[in-house]
Subunit: 194 residues, 2 copies
């Protein structure tokens, strides 16, 4: 969100691209929206969209409030020794969302998804096409994860985010990140690398 | 939601009580709202509030869209053999929310909580004061649960609800309830009765 408000050189162009993308993602979903169509809608060259954003995923992440580079973060968390994948995934989630700006983004994202069919569609396509595929393929120990197991692991993290950032349940808000890791990592571990 | 729309004998009175409660919960939170204050605001006798609703908890559940009797459902799930508490809790969650009306309520609740500070406050007080206390006290095997462990178990369920009812991730939507139980129950079990 902060990045959208910042107007530097070319800020109007960048903001125009984001607005065009927001409209197209809402109307046509993630799969139905191309960088070319966003560029056309914004009246700019597609190369300019690529200049400002890391392709369609980066553009969607900007629109929905997901921090840039989230899929690389996930890939990095999944890589490494399978026996500690659960711990790395929980730490990555907390690093991305636990900062004050991250909390606000999480809440905004949940609000958008609950309120607008288009935002839910777009997030669903994004998660299915990017996060889930990446996780289901990039297995701990070389084996592919089951998509439902990956989704269940994601559910543990999404729910923690709901209680920590949106509902703000005191016990979850006040918990030290290390306590959260200690409680949740074994659940994620069990689902991703049993 | 359906119950609010239904106007039977005394329906206007009932609806008036719900509206008064909605305003007070939003303005003053769950703890700061009394049945007496709701009755005063609605211009009815407190006994009438108790006639229509199961006390303040029942009234709040109605306002926020939580099915009536949720705390009894939770108590029933926690009672019984500790070694299968995880399975009972997941089954209860699915029974309450998996029906079409339940799904819509879940989405409405998430939307309200993400959009309105007052709704988040009220839900937080409700969960802290009722669900969490009940669970943390009514232990499997007689031992008290840690509140953070209970909240983490709740997070697993809330996140599953987010992906199944709000984001509607295909793999989670299409999963048979029994598959969901098989994947999640061991996580809940580990947190509630390790």
């Amino acid at each position: 969100m902060a990045a959208r408000g910042r107007r530097t050189g070319g800020g109007d162009t960048r903001a125009g691209i984001v607005e065009a993308a927001r409209g197209l993602f809402a109307a046509q979903g993630f799969d139905g929206t191309s960088v070319r169509a966003v560029a056309r809608e914004a009246g700019v060259d597609p190369a300019l969209v690529h200049h400002y954003f890391d392709g369609k995923v980066g553009l969607f992440a900007e629109v929905i409030g997901v921090p840039a580079g989230i899929d690389d973060e996930i890939a990095a968390a999944v890589a490494g020794p399978p026996e500690s994948v659960g711990e790395r995934v929980v730490r990555t989630f907390l690093r991305v969302w636990d900062a004050p700006e991250g909390r606000a983004r999480f809440q905004a994202m949940v609000g958008a998804v609950a309120a607008h069919e288009g935002a839910a569609d777009a997030l669903r396509d994004f998660v299915s096409g990017t996060v889930l595929t990446r996780l289901a393929a990039g297995a701990a120990g070389g084996e592919a994860f089951s998509e439902l197991a990956v989704a269940s692991a994601g559910a543990q993290l999404v729910g923690m985010g709901m209680l920590r950032y949106v509902v703000r349940l005191p016990t979850m808000v006040e918990a030290d990140p290390e306590e959260v890791v200690a409680l949740l990592a074994p659940n994620i571990q069990r689902l991703l690398a049993p």
